[in-house]
Amino acid sequence: MERSIRARELTAFAEEIRVETLKTLGYAGFGHIGGAMSIVEVVAALYGEFMRIDPSRPDWPDRDKLVLSKGHAGPTLYAVLALKGYFPRMMLRELNVGGGHLPSHVDRNKTPGIDMTAGSLGQGISAAIGIAMGDRMSGRDSRTYVIVGDGELDEGQNWEGFMFAYAHKIDNLVCFVDKNLQQLDGYTKDVLDTGDIAAKLKAFGWYTQEIDGHDMGAIIKAIKSANSTKGVPSAIVLDTKKGHGCTFAEGVLSNHHMNFTPEQMEEAMKAANERLEAARRALAE
């Protein structure tokens, strides 16, 4: 059961990222907790297993790239980049600090390891397509990953990108849809019902899988399958929970951006550390 061992290792890595993400948000005292928590597992799989990277060379042209189009989930990415050694963990204290390196929304000019600036929703898909095409034109076998939110799919530019990537056979690209069912004003079905996202992506010609976005084994399997697909772009719709694993955010409707008390964060950190310990115990079994 080699795969399940790797899945358990990556689950432990994910919980470590979750702890560091909460700690990072804790320094600031507020932030985009919901959407940061829902992408923890996929980010762990990408940086822990799939992406060809060299933290000592963030600008290495042959690296794989990630565009975090839902740029407000930056803290999760900051946590994993610190854990991978792109910058000292101490720097995580700079979240939203004026003049610091870690703005609320990801910025390629501010943070080592951030491949693309994002924050104005809907734009990441196009940048990711451009990166994938540029690498393909240059004969590089690099892969590009992009993470978009389900609420973000309200933006029409995504659908321009989906059409284009199919028409141009961009098969070195994987798009993850973080389907956490919520956006700033409430449930996605109430704000602007996205309908069946996977069916739509399939109709756009993408090789599309829909999986439990918090199940590491499923994530590993889906990315492997996507990465071996030729001729069409790949989409992986991640069924996730906004705020997953954060005691004061999970199950809360207005958890897109939250203020919290030190006591709430203390309790969340305690629970997250317990999740991490449990994941590590599972690894030892």
Binding site: T117, A118, S120, Q123, G130, I131, M133, G161
Partner: protein
């Protein structure tokens, strides 16, 4: 260095041919050059490029926002993308993509917005950008260029492979008046003093350069000595030259195929009022939308004529 034609006549080469030929020459030598278009290569004259370099020519369809984002992504991998659409769709429609995906992200792209202002002619108000440069000018670090003839287009475009940043150029696709002798060279960010004078300076770009030269000739017949400057770079603006014009001639007229609100006149006024305030007059579109018509009809309708420029020059001199 540049030399201007002794006589103003229609250019032999359409602007779009100068653009396409120059890009093809560049692409021969430089693998980084990539062209993108939004279902307008038949209009932009880029068919030869798309035929010759299919692997570096990207047809995006009618999806300009996606096109600009792709251009930004391409530049992240070291490519030098040139994206085209009609002016309004290459500027105001994609303002946020240019702002965030390209400029704010500190990436390296070029955008051609064709058929500025009245040169959109029969395409009318929906396609007639009097606002493209104004919309984009508040994007930090962007470079805005409006060449006036094919010689200027060729030399300026040839410089765009080795500079870094976001460059927007507006250019009529078809015929123009030939202002420059072949071989003339242009320095981005610097204006060209085309004609010296002592009483007033006319600062223009694009189609208004030839009109301004005509106006200066007419003014000379009336005993008025007018300087003419081709300020083909709107941003960064050549403050040094503008201040020199204000100091030496004491009055300035701007002439632009654009809304005077947020246009060339506004940019020149910022330099003038901060450094050497002198009377100014503004020739351009007075906060109106476009409409259909021949280019001649539209030039007359919006006052983009040599006669209007000359009259404005006299008004500016009277206010000294």
């Amino acid at each position: 260095m540049f030399k201007i034609k002794s006589e103003l006549k229609k250019a032999e080469v359409p602007m779009r041919d100068a653009y396409c030929n120059t890009l093809m020459q560049m692409a021969e030598k430089d693998e980084r050059i990539v062209a993108l278009d939004a279902d307008l290569i038949s209009s932009s004259g880029m068919k030869p490029f798309f035929a010759k370099f299919p692997e570096r020519a990207i047809q995006c369809g009618i999806a300009e926002a996606n096109m600009i984002g792709i251009a930004a992504g391409l530049s992240l991998t070291g490519k030098v993308p040139f994206a085209h659409s009609f002016g309004p769709f290459a500027s105001r429609r994609v303002c946020d993509q240019i702002f965030i995906s390209a400029a704010y992200a500190n990436l390296n792209i070029r955008i051609l917005g064709s058929d500025p202002g009245v040169t959109a002619a029969y395409n009318g108000g929906t396609h007639m950008p009097f606002e493209d440069m104004g919309v984009l000018r508040s994007i930090p670090g962007i470079t805005l260029i409006e060449p006036c003839d094919p010689v200027a287009v060729a030399d300026i475009v040839s410089q765009l492979s080795d500079v870094y940043g976001v460059y927007y150029m507006r250019m009529a696709r078809k015929s123009s008046i030939a202002v420059y002798e072949p071989g003339s060279t242009f320095e981005i960010g610097k204006g060209n003093l085309l004609r010296n004078g002592t009483d007033v300076t006319i600062i223009a770009s694009g189609i208004m350069v030839a009109e301004s030269l005509k106006a200066a000739a007419a003014l000379e017949a009336d005993g008025v000595s007018a300087r003419v400057v081709d300020l083909f770079t709107w941003k960064p603006i050549d403050t040094e030259l503008i201040v020199d014009c204000a100091e030496k001639t004491g009055a300035i007229v701007t002439a632009e195929n654009h809304n005077i609100f947020g246009g060339l006149g506004s940019a020149v006024a910022e330099a003038v009022t901060q450094n050497c305030p002198v009377p100014m007059e503004f020739v351009g579109v007075t906060d109106r939308f476009g409409q259909v018509g021949t280019e001649d009809f539209l030039r007359a309708e919006y006052g983009l004529t040599a006669e209007n420029v000359a009259a404005a020059a006299k008004r500016a001199i009277e206010r000294k």
